[in-house]
Symmetry: C2
C-alpha cells in the first residue's frame, strides 16, 4: 500500500470520529446554553416585582426555586433532641409557665413554634388573641400583626406606620391575610435584601447606628432581626427597647426607667416584663455572630438544583440540614455536632428549670405574704426581684435556639435570674416567718389544667369563643380581603409612595 493509499484509509477513520466529537460538543454546548437560560430564568425575572405585592405566589412565579423551598416552611416533621415538635403544647409540657405568666395571654395558650407560612393561621387560632366579635373588640392591639404578614408594609405604605399600629387587632384582620413572605425581606426591583419594618430602623437609630451602611452579609441577619427581637408597645407603637443596648441588663434598665410593665402578676402583684423573642440580641452575644456568620448562613444554606445555586428558603433548624449548614465550616460528624449542641442545651435546660421553680415558688409565696397582711413597703423589694428575675429568665429562654446561639450568655443570665429569684424568696421567708407562717401551703399546680384552674381560668369557654370567632369573623375577613385583592389583578397592587 502506498503512502497516499494509507492516508486515504486514515481519513476514512478520522471523518466519522470527528463527526461524533463535534456532535457531542454540540450537545454539551446546548446543555450549557440550557443551564444559562435556566439561571437567567432564575436571576432575571420576566418583570420586576412591586415591593408591596403581598401575594407570595405572585413572586413565586418569577422565583420558583425560592418559592418552592419557602412553601416547605409548612413542614413540621423536625423534632428537637429534647423531643419537642412544632406546635407542641408547651404549657402542658411545662406547667411552670402557667404560673409564671398568670394574668397574661401566654398562660392561656403557648405552643412550640412552627414555620413562617403558618404565621396568619397560628395568630388567629391562639387563645392569646382572644375571640373578638367586632372591629372594636378583643384583648390585643393591631400592632400584634406587625410581624405576621407581607400585607404589613403594603398597608404601612398606603396608610402610614402609626395608622397601622392603631386600633384593635380585629380592626386589621381583613387587611392582614398573607403570611410572612417575599416582600418582608426583598426589594421588588432588584431582589436585594431590604428592611421593610420601621421598628428595626428606629431601634438602630435609638442606638445611634445607621443601617444605611449595612452590607449584604449584615442584611442576611438584619432581615430576620426585623421580627426575631425583643419589643414592646409604647401606646401601641412598636418599639425595640435598645437605646441602652441589647443585653438583658440594658433592656431591664430601659424598662425600669420608663416604668413599663407588660402586666401585673395576679398572684405576686409584681409588675412584670414579658420578654418576647430576643433571638437577634442573643445571637449577637455568641461566637457565630462574632465570627461573622449570619442567620441565613445556617438557617438558609444554599442548595444546587440543575444549573443554579440558590438560597434555601425553608427557614428552619440548621440541625435539620447539618450537611449543608454546620458542615460548611465544621468537619465533625453529624452525630458529634449534635452531641455538642445538645451538651449546651442540657446545661441551659438545667439552669432554666432551676430559675423557673424558684420563680413559681416566689409568686406563690408572695401571694401567701399578701394574704398574711404583708405591707407594700415589705413587698416592694421582693416584687422588684421577681420582676427582674423573671425578665432575665424569659430573655434567656424565650428566643428560639438561645442555648445554641449564645450558651455562655444564656447561662450567665440564668445565673443572675436564679440569684435574684432566690433573693426574692429569702426576703419572702423573712416576711412570712415574721407573720407566723413557717410553712407555705402551696397549691397543686403540677399540670397545665390544675394550674389554670387554680388561677380561675375557664379555658373551655375561651376555646368555645375562639371557635365562634374562627367560624364567623375570620371568614368575613377572608371575604373582604379577597375582594380587595381581586382589584389588583396581575398588576402591581399599588405604586411606591
Amino acid at each position: 500500500m502506498s503512502t497516499e493509499e494509507k492516508k486515504g484509509k486514515v481519513s476514512w477513520f478520522i471523518f466519522p470520529a470527528v463527526a461524533v466529537i463535534v456532535f457531542i460538543l454540540g450537545l454539551l454546548a446546548s446543555s450549557i446554553m440550557e443551564r444559562r437560560v435556566e439561571s437567567r430564568m432564575i436571576y432575571m425575572p420576566k418583570e420586576k416585582m412591586d415591593q408591596f405585592e403581598p401575594r407570595n405566589e405572585k413572586w413565586g412565579k418569577q422565583y420558583p426555586n425560592q418559592y418552592d423551598t419557602f412553601m416547605k416552611t409548612a413542614e413540621t416533621s423536625f423534632k428537637s433532641k429534647h423531643n419537642i415538635s412544632s406546635r407542641d403544647d408547651m404549657l402542658e409540657k411545662n406547667p411552670n409557665l402557667v404560673i409564671l405568666w398568670a394574668g397574661y395571654g401566654f398562660s392561656k395558650d403557648y405552643n412550640a413554634p412552627r414555620g413562617h407560612s403558618y404565621a396568619i393561621k397560628d395568630i388567629r387560632e391562639t387563645l392569646r388573641t382572644g375571640a373578638p366579635k367586632s372591629e372594636k373588640d378583643g384583648p390585643m392591639p393591631a400592632t400584634c400583626w406587625a410581624c405576621k404578614s407581607t400585607d404589613v408594609s403594603r398597608y404601612m405604605n398606603e396608610k402610614g406606620i402609626t395608622e397601622f399600629y392603631q386600633g384593635k387587632w380585629a380592626e386589621k384582620g381583613h387587611e392582614v391575610i398573607n403570611p410572612i413572605g417575599c416582600n418582608d425581606c426583598h426589594d421588588g426591583d432588584t431582589m436585594a435584601l431590604r428592611i421593610s419594618r420601621p421598628a428595626l430602623l428606629e431601634g438602630f437609630e435609638s442606638m445611634g447606628l445607621d443601617l444605611s451602611k449595612a452590607t449584604h452579609q449584615d442584611k442576611r441577619t438584619l432581615v430576620c432581626a426585623q421580627c426575631h427581637v425583643e419589643y414592646y408597645f409604647k401606646d401601641q407603637y412598636l418599639v425595640f427597647p435598645w437605646s441602652k443596648g441589647t443585653k438583658a441588663e440594658n433592656m431591664e434598665e430601659y424598662f425600669d426607667e420608663v416604668e413599663f410593665a407588660d402586666w401585673v402578676h395576679p398572684l405576686s402583684k409584681a409588675k412584670m416584663i414579658k420578654a418576647q423573642h430576643p433571638g437577634y440580641e442573643l445571637w449577637k452575644e455568641g461566637i457565630h455572630a462574632q465570627r461573622g456568620v449570619s442567620c441565613a448562613d445556617c438557617h438558609m444554606p444554599y442548595v444546587s438544583k440543575g444549573g443554579v445555586k440558590f438560597t434555601d428558603h425553608q427557614i428552619n433548624s440548621p440541625l435539620a440540614k447539618i450537611n449543608r449548614s454546620c458542615q460548611n465550616c465544621h468537619r465533625q460528624s453529624e452525630a458529634e455536632l449534635i452531641r455538642s449542641v445538645a451538651s449546651n442545651q442540657d446545661k441551659v435546660y438545667q439552669l432554666k428549670m432551676s430559675a423557673e421553680k424558684i420563680l413559681v415558688k416566689a409568686h406563690l409565696e408572695a401571694k401567701a405574704a399578701w394574704d398574711a397582711g404583708a405591707t407594700e413597703a415589705e413587698m416592694a423589694p421582693v416584687l422588684d426581684y421577681i420582676r427582674h428575675a423573671q425578665w432575665r429568665w424569659d430573655y434567656a429562654t424565650a428566643s428560639h435556639g438561645a442555648a445554641f446561639h449564645a450558651p455562655q450568655e444564656v447561662l450567665r443570665i440564668l445565673g443572675t435570674s436564679i440569684e435574684k429569684g432566690s433573693e426574692a424568696r429569702r426576703l419572702l421567708t423573712g416576711v412570712l416567718v415574721s407573720k407566723g407562717i413557717k410553712e407555705v401551703d402551696y397549691p397543686d399546680v403540677s399540670t397545665k389544667e390544675k394550674a389554670q384552674k387554680y388561677l380561675g381560668m375557664d379555658i373551655e369557654a375561651m376555646k368555645k369563643a375562639k371557635k365562634e370567632f374562627l367560624e364567623t369573623l375570620v371568614p368575613e375577613w377572608e371575604k373582604k380581603a379577597k375582594e380587595r385583592e381581586a382589584t389588583y389583578g396581575d398588576k402591581k397592587p399599588m405604586t411606591k409612595k
Copy 2:
C-alpha cells in the same frame, strides 16, 4: 571563528560556573548534614537516662532545647487580662476568700500560681505548710509533696508508695528537693511520655478504665492530669475521687457518701470540702477536649530552632504565645482571640463573685444563727447547702483556666452554687427571724487584714515562725539532700525496681 573554537570559548565559561554551583551544593549538603547532626544530638541522647534521676539539669545535658525552655517556667512576666500576675496575693485582691476558707490553710495565704520550677520554693514559703521545727511537726502530711518534685517517683521506687505518703510534711523535706521536671512525665529509656504517679492510675482504675491503652496524644494530657486534678487524702493516701465520675456533682456525691470533710468551718460549722484544682476534669467538659486537643497542644506548642522542631517546655498560658498555640487552628487575629476568651472570663467572673458574696453572707448568718441559739436540727439543712454550694463554687473556679477550658460547664456549676448558697441563706433568714433577728450585724471583712483579724488569725506570728523555719530547718534539708545526691555522682541514682 570555527565551531570548534566557539565550543572552546563556551567551555571556558561553563567550567567556572559549574565549579561555583558544585561549591554551593557542597555548602548546602554540609548545612543539611549539620542540621542532621543537630537533630541526632537532640533526639538521640549520648546515653539513656535513668527514669528515677531527679536532677533536671542532668537530663538537660542530653536535651538542651527542652531543658532551656523548661527553665523559662521561672519567668513571671505574663499578666492576665484581669490584671493578675504570678504570685499576686489573691487574699488581698479578693478578701471573700479569707471568710470562705476560714479555719483552713488557704485563709492564711493564697497566691496566684507561677511556673513549675518554683514548685519546691513556693510550697516551702507558703504559710499553709506552717513552720515545723522538727520532722514530727507542722500542719501538713507528707502527701503534700506528691506533686511538687521529681524526687517523688525516685522515693516511691526506692521505699514504696504508701511509705511516701506517711508521716508529716517535714519528715520528707530533705528527700524532696528538685522541682517538678523531666522524670515526672518522661521515660528515661525511650523519652516516651510516662505516668509516674500512682494516684492517676488508681483514679482511672476506680472508673473501670485502663490507662495502658492510652495513646501518645492521650498522654499529652494525662501527664498533666497526674497533678492538675481534684484529690483528697484518705488517711494521708492520695486519692482522686473519681469512682462516680469527674463532674462536680459526681465527686460531691462521692464525698457525701464517704462522709469526707476537709475541715469544719469555724463560723458556720459546715463540714466543708475544698476543691483543689480540677483542671483536667473541667478541660474534659470543654470543646477543646471534645475535639481531641491535648494540654500540650496549647500549653506546649512546638518551636523550631536550627534544624529541629521540639516541644516548648515553658508550660504557661497559651495566651502568652497565641501565634504558636491558638493560631495553629484558629485564623482569627490575636486581638480577636483574646477578646473571645476574655468575654467568657468576664461572664464566669460575674457568677463567681455572686456565688462568693452569697457564701460569705451564709457563713456569717449561720454564725449569727448559732449565736442566737439555733438548734442542730434547724441548722442541718443549712449546713448541707453551704457545703455543696461552696464545693461547687470552688470546683468551678479553683483550677487554672476553668473559664477558658469549659465556660459552659463552669457557668452551669456556678449557677447551681448560687442556687444552693441562696437556699442556705433563705433557710437562715427563717431561722433568724424566728429568733427575733431581722437584721444581721455583719462584721467588716472587706479587706484581707480585717477578715483575718475578725477570725482571730495572727498572721505576723505565722510569718515570723515561717522565717525561722526557712532559716533553720530548710538549710538542714538542703544539706542532707546534697550529701545524698553527692553519692549519685554522674551515675544513675538507683536502678529500676
